[in-house]
């Protein structure tokens, strides 16, 4: 087994900050699995912040004198590989808990693994509602505001608009489909006279933007709900602005205010879209400012939303470990239910009822500032206000 | 009854009338040569006989049964063996395995998934190879065989299903003259012994005149002469077709 250990050690050393001496048998090991090679734009800032948080925790004496240590693994975007690596982390690397996940299906696969193997899994990023509701389980907790929550935040704004005729455009996979489904359902509930006149579902990463824009324009909607992101969003915005799709039309758009997706647009970032996002340069709260500055110092870069998620995942885990003296899974799970911790964005609680955290998101308008996209008139929408009532949650999570 | 009867066989490729109204018959045990210059339509004729090509018009009857236009593999099942002008064997198999394949197909055992071929029909395959003087080559892959030997392998394959009719398109092309005569002599022996009708094309007039019982002469798709070697040799039309080549009068 010697070779395996050497390899694993190399994995840790290569990925963790250099010069971290490993206290023999002392460290608490976290296994982290994510789609690093498949989604580097989001996950590089994520891992940077993760490492920063870990360094901070360790510098402050660790957890009851024990250092935190993370073994990172790349699932290359394949859920089946994530499951194998989870097995490796648990069995060969002897990690005490699992964390990570960016893609929803990877998150679900890991959640099911956690359930089967009775391990704690702290899902950081995957947005799918199924993770905590229809397929939620005892061992899985999720940090980030879910598709439902973010849709609900935007519906609140959309309902204030005079627009009645809506069109939607979303990537053709679970996230896009459920975002559109929730948006339609919640908006129709808030404003029964709205009408959905067109919907487009381009394949993820392969939008035929010209044709999609034209098809939306043909339906002549008064407002558009957009769920595309990344390269699809860029192409959609370019074609849309040249073809005048966004003129005299309001656009309500999921995640578009996140620097991950706004910054690549440069001076072509759309203006006056209502978005969820992360106006990192403007948030000067006691919890956020130190994070931003520390991140800058450590990585010579500004934080993205992924950084917040990475940082807060570690902080949540640290809070959990401080609360429990043992690393026994059942005790960890017990402590995780209802765990409160101070996140970068504000106080957050992992709800006992569905294991969803109450981390929120920022809702605001996009603006152009100095040739760059940014957010204005934003507010922090606390996640706890955008979740269904407990009764509804219980029907959505019947198994728990 | 004639083994093979051909009636008014016709085929065109675009504008080229490759074969026009060819009619003939082959009797059991008879060696019938089909000769003619290059491009006369010999191979096309063969291809229509074994179903590779569908004739535009005409009939092909085997033992009185109409086989016009049916697939090559069905024609083969009815007892027609074939060798090709450009040899076609299984290059990734040994000589023995090539013959075994024909035998296994004949016995309808190719669907079997379990027993190794090595133990199936090896003895009769060896016997066939022995008959053709190929026994010492049995274990060699066909992919590396000399051309002349491949021709023999093809003959062995063609004989595997105890055919009633053998179609041999230039069976001795690429062989040394000595070899040609001995192969055709052997073929003739086998044919007479088992009452197999043989239709073959051949450029070597020595071979034709020494082994054919009868000769058909094809020119630009038409049959221009037919009969015993001596008759055909004397035919002025045939002389005209082969004019200058001296082939027809060739030393004999």
């Amino acid at each position: 087994m010697g070779r395996r250990q050497i390899l694993a050690g190399a994995g840790v050393a290569a990925l963790a900050a250099p010069g971290l001496a490993r206290a023999q048998g002392e460290a608490i090991r976290i296994g982290e699995i994510n789609s690093y090679t498949a989604q580097p734009a989001f996950l590089q800032p994520y891992r940077n912040a993760w490492l920063l948080a870990q360094e901070q925790v360790n510098a402050a004496g660790g957890i009851n004198g024990r250092r935190l240590e993370t073994v990172f693994r790349d699932d290359a975007g394949r859920p089946e590989d994530a499951v194998r690596l989870a097995g490796e982390l648990v069995n060969a690397e002897k990690v005490s808990l699992l964390a990570g996940g960016f893609l929803s299906n990877v998150g679900l696969a890991l959640a099911d693994f956690a359930n089967q193997n009775k391990r704690l899994f702290v899902a950081s990023e995957p947005l799918t509602d199924a993770l905590v509701w229809s397929r939620g389980n005892k061992y899985t907790f999720r940090l980030r505001a879910s598709t439902y929550m973010q849709s609900a935040m935007l519906v609140e704004e959309a309902a204030k608009l005079p627009a009645k005729r809506w069109a939607t455009v979303a990537p053709n996979y679970e996230y896009g489909q459920s975002a559109v489904r929730w948006f339609k359902e919640l908006l129709s509930r808030a404003k029964p006279d709205v009408e959905f006149v067109a919907e487009q579902f381009p394949a993820l990463g392969r939008i035929d933007a010209g044709a999609t824009v034209q098809a939306l324009a043909a339906a002549n909607p008064e407002a558009i709900f957009n769920v595309t992101f990344g390269a699809d969003l860029t192409n959609f915005v370019r074609q849309g602005s040249t073809r005048g799709l966004f003129e005299r039309r309001r656009v309500v758009s999921l995640l578009t205010g996140e620097p991950e997706y706004l910054d690549p647009l440069g001076d072509e970032a759309p203006e006056d879209w209502i978005v969820t996002g992360y106006p990192w340069e403007q948030i000067d709260t006691p919890s956020h400012t130190p994070f931003r500055e520390a991140y800058r110092r450590r990585w010579n870069d500004y934080p993205r939303l992924g950084s917040v998620v990475g940082y807060d995942t570690v902080m949540a885990i640290a809070a959990l470990l401080r609360k429990t003296p043992t690393l026994e899974t059942e005790a960890l799970v017990e402590a995780m239910s209802g765990l409160k911790f101070q996140s970068v964005l504000g106080p957050v609680e992992f709800r006992a009822i569905d294991h969803q955290s109450t981390m929120g998101a920022f809702v605001g308008r996009t603006v152009l500032k100095n040739g760059k996209g940014s957010m204005a008139d934003w507010r922090y929408a606390d996640g706890k206000d955008y979740l269904p009532s407990d009764d509804v949650v219980r029907t959505l999570r019947p198994q728990a | 009854m004639a083994t093979l009867e051909v009636e008014g066989l016709t085929k065109s490729f675009g504008g080229v009338r490759a074969v026009q109204g060819v009619t003939f018959a082959v009797e059991p045990g008879e060696m019938l040569a089909l000769i003619g210059p290059n491009g006369a339509g010999k191979s096309t004729c063969f291809n229509m006989l074994n179903g590779q090509l569908r004739p535009d018009a005409g009939r092909v009857r085997l033992m009185g049964r109409d086989i016009t236009g049916i697939a090559p593999r069905q024609v083969w099942r009815l007892g027609v063996g074939r060798t090709f002008q450009i040899t076609a064997t299984f290059g990734s198999m040994t000589v023995l395995e090539n013959v075994q394949m024909a035998l296994l197909s004949h016995h309808r055992r190719l669907g079997q998934l379990w027993r190794p071929v090595a133990r199936m029909d090896a003895a009769p395959a060896r016997a066939l190879l022995d008959r053709l003087g190929m026994a010492d080559q049995a274990a060699r892959p066909c992919g590396i065989l000399a051309y002349g030997d491949l021709k023999r392998v093809e003959l062995a394959i063609a004989l595997a299903n105890e055919p009633k009719l053998l179609l041999m398109d230039e069976p001795t092309a690429g062989m040394a003259p000595q070899e040609r005569v001995s192969l055709m002599a052997l073929t003739a022996d086998i044919a007479r012994e088992s009452g197999i009708a043989v239709l073959f094309t051949e450029h070597d007039m020595d071979v034709v005149f020494s082994h054919a019982d009868r000769i058909l002469v094809l020119d630009r798709g038409r049959l221009i002469a037919e009969g015993e070697p001596a008759v055909v040799r004397a035919d002025p039309k045939v002389r005209e077709v082969y004019l200058g080549s001296g082939a027809v009068t060739g030393a004999h």
Partner: protein, 615 residues
């Protein structure tokens, strides 16, 4: 009405872009017969290089257009280098082997691009003079799209002139129609191939560079374009430029109008089109039947015989290790071994149709996935016990193998391979989109083994027994009359038919048998992972299988086994070792390709034969 006009124009613009990439691919394939997976990488490099050049050169026309042309030329040079340093050395390798090399290039380029340009999407400037839009039938249409609509036909015309009015072009056309002829003409074939690679890569680079004003440059561009480009090339007819143009037009317009009627169709549309076209026209719209690459003479494929004693001992020793060692290993090592066993069977099943069958498949994961879904659906909807699920897996895969195979095995070469890909993608999109039944991309969870097989070790022995059994059975089949019949129709269809073998039927049954075997692997994989996702039948998994078979060597029966062990093992180790695993894996593949052009097992066999003076 006006909207429809604009929709048509949007379709034209996409078609034009698609044609640029596809034209390069079809020219390369036509002459060299190389299935160039790296073409998408060249396209991506074109976009990245154009971004770098355009943003560093002075602004304005010169800077922009100079940057675009410069990027295209640079990519042409990169293609040329790949040809000279890599592909040129392996033209004599077995069919499709070059694909392995180009896949290595894909992996290398992915990491190099990430290292050079960073992870964030890059947005290039718009084209000077073409930023705005024009009014067409009262609606706005981007000028740049109009420009793109013009570029396609212009490039087509230029290529036509090049191919019909120059000596070089005549040679290229001659080589496309009949490769042997060029050799016979005594033409400097090397120069021809190299220059064709330059041209084809240049076109890919140009296609990528011209996307700069339209799209952001990102690290997913390579794989998102490559399948579509192949579809265009195949639908048009391999090697046919006008065919590629026609196919690009067809697909561009179908896309533009398809989304008006069925908004979710984009996932599968191109594959539906390809399947339809290939079923009706086996050589694409304008392609010609390939002159039989293998003459009646049969191919140079080696004879198969019983394994030499040394190999038998080796296999027995490996088996002994596989049986005796696991109880002393940890759970993780055991689960890796389980996966290895499963992939050995998966690769062996593909090898049956690729090696003895002589047909390539780019969509073999379909049957792996169908097996997995068969088992998972039975567990989910029928509450079937594990053994029933495992029995259903090969059944489901086998039935679909029969259905899909019926169409695929009528075709030959790359056409057949691409039709298998089309069916695989159709199956994939059903799994992806039929959310009510399959759970969509979130998959089916909770497909865990029955209690008795739940311990990793027990499940490993179960998987080992089934996979080894099935692999040995396939091996047995190859030595049995059916396997011989498969090879017979591969070596010479003419001879096979002339001795009563129904080549179609044999191929068809062979395909279904391989599908069923892949289904067993898929079913075992499903229970091993506890979940099933559409990725199980995605293109990457099909490619993995292909790589395993090629890496091991198509021409040897132990090839797929060695290939699966080497490929899966390498990847498993590298992924845990470093973030740069793609770069390293790519380099290893390229080196293996250069040093073992017959695959690992092929090389071992050659050495063995050299030492023992075998025939």
């Amino acid at each position: 009405m006006e909207n429809l006009v604009l929709q048509a124009l949007s379709g034209l613009a996409s078609a034009s872009s698609l044609f640029l990439v596809a034209s390069g691919l079809t020219v390369i394939f036509g002459v060299s017969r190389v299935v160039n997976f790296a073409h998408g990488s060249l396209y991506m490099l074109g976009a990245y290089l154009a971004w770098t050049l355009v943003t560093t050169l002075p602004r304005g026309h010169l800077g922009f257009w100079g940057g675009v042309i410069g990027a295209a030329l640079l990519v042409g040079l990169i293609g040329l280098l790949v040809e000279v340093l890599l592909l040129r050395r392996i033209y004599r390798a077995p069919e499709l082997f070059q694909l392995l090399a180009t896949f290595g290039v894909v992996l290398i380029v992915q990491d190099l691009a990430l290292m050079t340009w960073g992870a964030q999407d890059l947005l290039g400037p718009r084209a000077p003079g073409l930023r705005g839009s024009v009014e067409i039938v009262g609606l706005r249409f981007p000028l740049y799209e109009l420009f793109l609509i013009g570029v396609g036909p212009v490039v087509l015309a230029l290529l036509w002139l090049l191919f019909h009015r120059t000596r070089w072009g005549t040679l290229v056309r001659a080589a496309t129609q009949d490769r042997e002829m060029v050799g016979a003409l005594g033409v400097n074939q090397r120069m021809l191939f190299t220059s064709v690679f330059f041209l084809g890569s240049l076109l890919a680079g140009l296609g990528g560079a011209l996307q700069l004003p339209r799209e952001s440059v990102n690290l997913h561009m390579d794989l998102s374009i490559i399948t579509e480009a192949f579809v265009v090339v195949v639908v048009g007819g391999l090697g046919s430029l006008s065919g590629a143009a026609l196919a690009a037009l067809l697909i561009g317009e179908l896309h533009a109008f398809g989304i008006l009627i069925v908004p979710k169709i984009t996932l599968v549309l191109v594959f539906l089109v390809m399947a339809l076209v290939l079923v009706v026209r086996p050589h694409g719209l304008l392609g010609k039947p390939e002159a039989a690459a293998r003459g009646g003479q049969g191919s140079a494929e080696p004879v198969i015989g019983p394994a030499p004693p040394a190999l038998r001992w080796l296999a027995l020793a490996a088996l002994a290790v596989a049986v005796v060692l696991p109880p002393f290993l940890g759970d993780y090592a055991v689960s890796v071994l389980t996966e290895l066993a499963i992939f050995v069977l998966f690769a062996a099943s593909l090898h049956l149709i690729m090696g003895p069958g002589g047909m390539a498949s780019f969509g073999h994961a379909a049957y792996f996935g169908l097996g997995a879904y068969g088992a998972a659906l039975a567990a989910q909807w029928l509450g079937a016990p594990m053994l029933a699920g495992l029995a259903l897996a090969p059944l489901m895969a086998g039935i679909f193998g029969l259905v899909f195979g019926y169409f695929c095995v009528r075709l030959s070469g790359v056409y057949a391979a691409m039709l298998t890909l089309a069916f695989a993608q159709i199956a994939w999109s059903v799994a992806f989109q039929w959310v009510e039944v399959t759970g969509g991309d979130n998959g089916i969870l909770g497909v865990w083994p029955d209690a008795w097989a739940a311990p990793k070790l027990v499940y490993y022995y179960l998987a080992l027994a089934l996979c080894l059994g099935a692999t040995l059975f396939l091996r047995r089949v190859v030595h049995a009359p059916f396997g011989y019949a498969l090879r017979a129709q591969r070596d010479s269809t003419l001879r096979a038919e002339a001795i009563g073998i129904d080549a179609f039927r044999i191929r068809w049954l062979g395909f279904a048998l391989a599908a069923a075997a892949a289904g067993i692997a898929g079913g075992l994989f499903a229970y091993g992972k506890g979940s099933v996702f559409p990725t199980y039948m995605g293109i990457p998994r099909s490619v993995d299988a292909l790589l395993m078979v090629l890496l091991g060597g198509v021409q040897t029966l132990s090839g797929p086994i060695i290939g699966a062990l080497a490929f899966t093992g390498l990847q498993e180790q590298l992924v845990r070792l470093t973030d740069l695993w793609r770069l390293i894996l790519g380099c290893i593949i390229v080196l293996l390709v250069l040093f073992f052009p017959q695959g690992l097992a092929g090389a071992a066999r050659a050495r063995w034969e050299a030492r023992h003076g075998d025939a």
